[in-house]
Symmetry: C2
Subunit: 361 residues, 2 copies
């Protein structure tokens, strides 16, 4: 029996999508072969690849002056590719709101002056710092944020106004969770393994003027956006299965009515969990309300032994991977698009029961 | 009905493997989740990951002083990672036996003096050049070969003697096709999508002394072998599905009796095709016999129109992806481990029939 999997990524995928993938894994359509056996230069695969791009453009309403690229190496690779490709004046601004935002800044230091203009480290990243755009560097090559912080359960409730400086957003854990205005960004990047599909592919949405010709510089071919843009992400063999799965997930989103419907469903799910947390005497969500993530809900009892007991007993009920990130402990329920409302309801019912049974401890 | 797919990669996989993967794609074992939904930090995935490494060690008899790493970005990424990690004296030797060997050399120029010590470009890469080890640079940081040339259908029939200079081999299209003595190499790398599984993961087998601490140099974290070695290739999210599939393929190889049996089978398959080519008056294999690849068999009729007709008619018979690489044209039959002998026999039967029907042209 399938469990409710609250993993932060790789994460739960829609059961319909998994069933479809399983049904055609030995033979895709009338091709006589599996999608993972198809030459990436053949018409069968190319149709899947292009359909994935076109569904993403449609779903996110991506303007014509942006390209969609498929890159390997996860978000981490983007921490390097962004500065390698966008470096001009040799400096960039960073808001450090957690571990990944911090790594994006520390990798960027290899290439340019990576200025931290705000951080929420003082309160264990439990909020998003207020930003004063008059303090932003007008000559920065880019302005980087991690829009949803998977580990700490926060998200930007409004975007910084960066003017002509390209806003670069790591949307790994919130892409496709709600509509966004793509035109506000220079680059959006997101690894697939949260809301889009399996690990192995990172989607990059980039404004065309930021795809630069790096000429005879020593940036590797595989780390130049232009290599991907000029070859429709087929310069070398792409991670074909991951891209195929993203396509299936996009079809599923479309069948649900698109991102507005997805957002409404996500807000409903998150409200069930946060409402209970706010009423609980045992469980506490440490995040300032305004910045609470729709996707990753963190909570603690304040007692490590009790946290462990909760995670172990929840697992027996088919509510799995509820442990917080190894760097912070506690609990985290990642409730991405594919988590059904029934899963969240079952979790809250279990938490209520656990609280009643353990409140004397 | 499944076809015989002669694609150079992504390529045919064993049907048993595909069926097993399909059967457990919605629920893997008693985990209640798909392998692609599993947290890469959880016990279920970790068991798969470690079993894949241990099966590869067993199958290839990898000595204890070598590490197995899983990296994204394909062979292309290795063209950069090898020089980035091995650079010391600032020079390396290259044998250019085709397009990929050439790209490995041209990317390496970004980091060091990349000396071409031999090339077979003069005869369209139809042979492997004779190598005189007295001409090798004893101070080179490494010596690079592409052991099997997918596009041109050649392979090294014996290895260069590089002494204390680490031999680095791109085995993308021949790994697991026969036993190799791993101790002769400094680094072996191979993308998965030919003999190992789907695209999206590259296996790197590296001698431990070559895993260097690059300290505060500006090499990206994701391009340091040490990042992978220190974290069992789990520094960030690995391409979990691709690694799982490699594990299934390794189990299949084991069930067939291991690499000696695989080699015998591959030699039998290749002999059927080469024997026919040598007897044919229409089809010609351009490669010097000593250097013929066991995995990629190239052939032409000498008439482009006839080549096209052959490829189109073969497709109707369920013999697909027989076109040569877009850079060279003609035909290519990639007959990796998963291609059954029946597929090769059916191809030869069809070639014989085609030759009889078209010999007046």
């Amino acid at each position: 029996m399938r469990v409710y999997n609250f993993s932060a990524g790789p994460a739960m995928l829609p059961e319909e999508v998994l069933k479809k993938a399983a049904a055609e894994l030995t033979e895709h359509g009338d091709s006589g072969q599996s999608v993972i056996e198809m030459s990436h230069r053949g018409k069968d695969y190319e149709a899947i690849h292009n359909e994935c791009i076109s569904l993403l453009r449609e779903t996110m309403e991506i303007p014509d002056n942006y390209k969609v690229l498929f890159i390997q190496g996860g978000g981490h690779m983007q921490f390097d590719m962004v500065p390698q490709n966008l470096k001009k004046n040799g400096k960039a601004d960073f808001v450090v709101t957690g571990q990944w935002a911090g790594k994006a800044q520390s990798e960027a230091k290899k290439y340019l002056e990576a200025n931290v203009i705000a951080s929420s480290k003082d309160k264990t990243f439990s909020y998003i710092p207020a930003l004063d755009s008059s303090e932003f560097d007008k000559d920065a090559d880019y302005f980087h944020i991690c829009q949803n912080n998977t580990i700490f359960g926060t998200r930007f409730s409004k975007l910084p106004e960066t003017g002509s400086v390209p806003l670069v957003s790591d949307m790994s854990s919130c892409i496709l969770s709600e509509p966004v205005d793509v035109s506000k960004f220079g680059i959006i990047y997101a690894c697939a393994q949260k809301n889009m599909g399996p690990s192995g592919v990172t989607v990059v949405i980039i404004r065309e003027d930021l795809i630069r010709d790096l000429g005879d510089s020593n940036v590797p071919a595989m780390q130049r956006y232009k290599t991907y843009a000029d070859n429709n992400s087929l310069y070398n063999t792409p991670p074909t299965f991951s891209i195929y799965m993203v396509k299936l997930v996009l079809e599923w989103i479309k069948s649900k009515g698109g991102l507005s419907e997805i957002k409404a469903y996500n807000e409903k799910k998150a409200a069930i969990l946060y409402d209970y947390l706010d009423s609980s005497k045992m469980f506490n969500n440490p995040v300032e309300k305004e910045y609470r993530s729709l996707m990753n809900v963190t909570f603690v009892t304040g007692n490590e032994e009790l946290d462990k007991k909760f995670i172990a007993e929840a697992k027996k009920e088919g509510l799995v991977t509820l442990g917080g990130h190894r760097s912070v402990g506690g609990m985290r329920a990642s409730i991405y698009n594919a988590m059904p409302i029934e899963g969240v309801q079952k979790l809250v019912d279990f938490m209520r029961k656990f609280e009643a049974e353990n409140s004397a401890m």
